[in-house]
């Protein structure tokens, strides 16, 4: 295994985060804090508890998940798209490095950033809202699993995109709406029966539900199903990445 190459890619990607600290960390933390202030502290104080949890505390897992999904996709897609855009991808393709090593470097760095960001948001949320974590190990596992899965997904988007617009289109037009409609701000049980069934087709519902369970022990869907769906999505992404590198899709002529 080319450990030096993995370290080089991983270090290069993380160095970009420190160089763009405001954009990478401060900006998402600030916007999530605003959600906590508006929905948690201001509006939340006038709303009824959901399943025995105050509204401010109820939205904490969903908001962390919203940031993680967005940032994982954004970091991983940018990480692989930028060399394609600038032309420096030639170096990656001509290096003695295998597909798993490339993926560990890029996806690992993007997931690390997301985990760091999620942890910072978690700590920041505690400033505005009182909450507890019922299953901390499951919470950490869920945080890492989601970060890795969506970093894989972002990596695929970065390979697929051949322009800045394409790079943004899936996160903005698909992932963000799915996240907002995935139970970040409400329980699925609050929807009319028909929309409850429709919501089950939204994969983000399973992520948010599982993550919320690790906090408060309550969930919209079965916890095993939640983790199972996340693993299935991760598996699909891994297969897609393997196909990309085997065929050279959008990377090699």
């Amino acid at each position: 295994m080319n450990v030096h190459a993995i370290r080089a890619i991983y270090g290069f990607e993380l160095a970009r985060t420190w160089r763009t600290l405001f954009q990478s960390i401060a900006s998402p933390v600030l916007s999530t804090s605003l959600y906590f202030i508006v929905f948690g502290a201001a509006i939340g104080s006038r709303m009824a508890h959901i399943d025995g949890v105050s509204y401010g505390a109820f939205i904490v897992p969903g908001l962390i998940m919203l940031s993680i999904l967005t940032e994982s996709i954004s970091n991983a897609s940018f990480g692989i798209y930028m060399p394609k855009y600038s032309g420096t991808i030639y170096e990656l393709l001509s290096a003695p490095i295998s597909t798993p090593e490339i993926v560990i470097g890029y996806v690992g760095a993007a997931a690390t950033k997301s985990v760091i960001l999620g942890t910072i948001i978690l700590v920041t949320a505690r400033v505005f809202v009182v909450f507890s974590i019922a299953h901390p190990l499951w919470m950490a596992a869920s945080l890492i699993l989601t970060s890795v899965t969506f970093s894989f997904f972002g990596f695929i988007i970065g390979v697929w995109a051949d322009g800045w617009e394409k790079l943004q289109i899936i996160p903005l037009m698909i992932v963000t709406p799915l996240t907002f409609l995935g139970g970040s701000f409400y329980s699925i049980s609050m929807l009319p029966p028909l929309w409850q069934k429709v919501a089950l087709f939204n994969p983000v519902v399973y992520l948010v539900s599982g993550f919320r369970w690790s906090f408060y022990g309550i969930s919209d869907v079965n916890i095993v199903l939640s983790f199972g769906m996340t693993l299935v999505f991760l598996l699909l992404c891994v297969v897609a990445v393997q196909v990309i590198f085997r065929t050279g899709y959008k990377l090699k002529a």
């Binding site: 080319n2 190459a5 080089a8 032309g87 030639y90 290096a95 003695p96 490095i97 050279g248 002529a253």
Partner: protein, 307 residues
């Protein structure tokens, strides 16, 4: 001489159906400077890109230092450094960081002393902390060479290495390439500057429309295909070539003041003595004469045109 790169029956057909390489066979000798010449779209960059792993071959085999570039890609690629044609760099990285990154990517542990030597050899040491975007075009080109050398390759590909650089820097790069060869690195360069190939190469390959039409020692090539010209400057202009000289490989210039005689310098008889005697018999007096040899460019143009 031992081969360091062996290309056998290499074919590349792109998705759109364009056949960029047509069963190319080529051997690069260890320690030589090999110049690959060819017009735009001839297949030079495709050939290099396949050897380096950037483009997938359709058919054929490539061995780099004895390692198959597909089956044993790690060992093959570890021996190769590439300086691509385009100035593609991570603009926001420092020179030091980017060469360190390249070394790591090629599986080598950090070696500050080696990288310092590379940067000093390329006159980049003073700029090691500068961001690449602040550097001039010539310096960026040198950064790309430093990146390619960062993992101590045995084979270096230079795709149009001096495109867009000034004459002074071009000369400096030629010196650098020669010193790399002296250190044992095999160099394969593509260039549009025939002068560059003529100046540096040990052997020349000419590729046209995806076919390698010639591979030859540079000096042998020039000896074999090169023709010499004898130009006679006349004292009085001629209105036309005398009938007695029409079969003498002579051309009369437009102003009638120059006679140009083409001959094979390697031939047993050049015909110069006979020509001068016949001119004297016809009373044609010349005031000066000079000879010139075909350049590599002339040879190249003539080869490509003849296809």
């Amino acid at each position: 001489m031992q081969s360091i790169i062996q290309v056998s029956h290499l074919t590349k057909t792109y998705a759109g159906g364009f056949q960029a390489l047509k069963s190319v066979d080529l051997e690069i000798h260890q320690g030589e400077i090999f110049a690959l010449l060819g017009p735009n779209g001839a297949g030079k960059t495709t050939l290099i890109s396949i050897i380096c792993g950037i483009v997938n071959p359709t058919r054929g085999q490539v061995l780099a230092d004895g390692h198959d570039i597909i089956r044993d890609f790690r060992a093959a690629r570890a021996t190769i450094g590439l300086v691509p044609q385009e100035l593609t760099t991570d603009a926001f990285e420092s020179v030091w960081d980017t060469v360190n990154f390249s070394r790591g990517l090629f599986g080598k542990p950090a070696d500050a002393a080696y990288l310092e030597r590379v940067l000093k050899d390329l006159s980049l040491w003073e700029k090691r902390s500068s961001k690449i975007l602040t550097l001039s075009g010539g310096m960026k080109r040198r950064v790309m060479i430093a990146k390619a050398l960062s993992h101590e390759p045995r084979i270096l590909f230079l795709d149009e290495p001096t495109a867009g650089v000034d004459v002074e820097l071009r000369r400096a790069m030629w010196d650098m390439v020669r010193s790399l060869r002296e250190s044992g690195v095999t160099i394969i360069l593509t260039t549009h500057y025939i002068e560059e190939a003529q100046e540096m190469a040990d052997r020349i390959g000419v590729i046209s429309k995806g076919e390698l039409i010639l591979v030859e020692e540079k000096t042998a090539l020039m000896r074999k295909l090169g023709r010499k010209k004898l130009t006679l400057q006349l004292r009085s202009p001629l209105t036309q070539l005398p009938a007695e000289l029409t079969d003498s490989h002579l051309e009369l210039s437009g102003d009638g003041l120059e006679l140009v005689y083409s001959y094979d310098s390697q031939g047993q008889r050049t015909g110069i003595t006979t020509l001068l005697r016949r001119l004297a018999e016809l009373g044609i007096v010349f005031k000066d004469l000079q000879t010139s040899e075909s350049s590599l460019e002339d040879i190249f143009v003539s080869l490509v045109r003849s296809r």
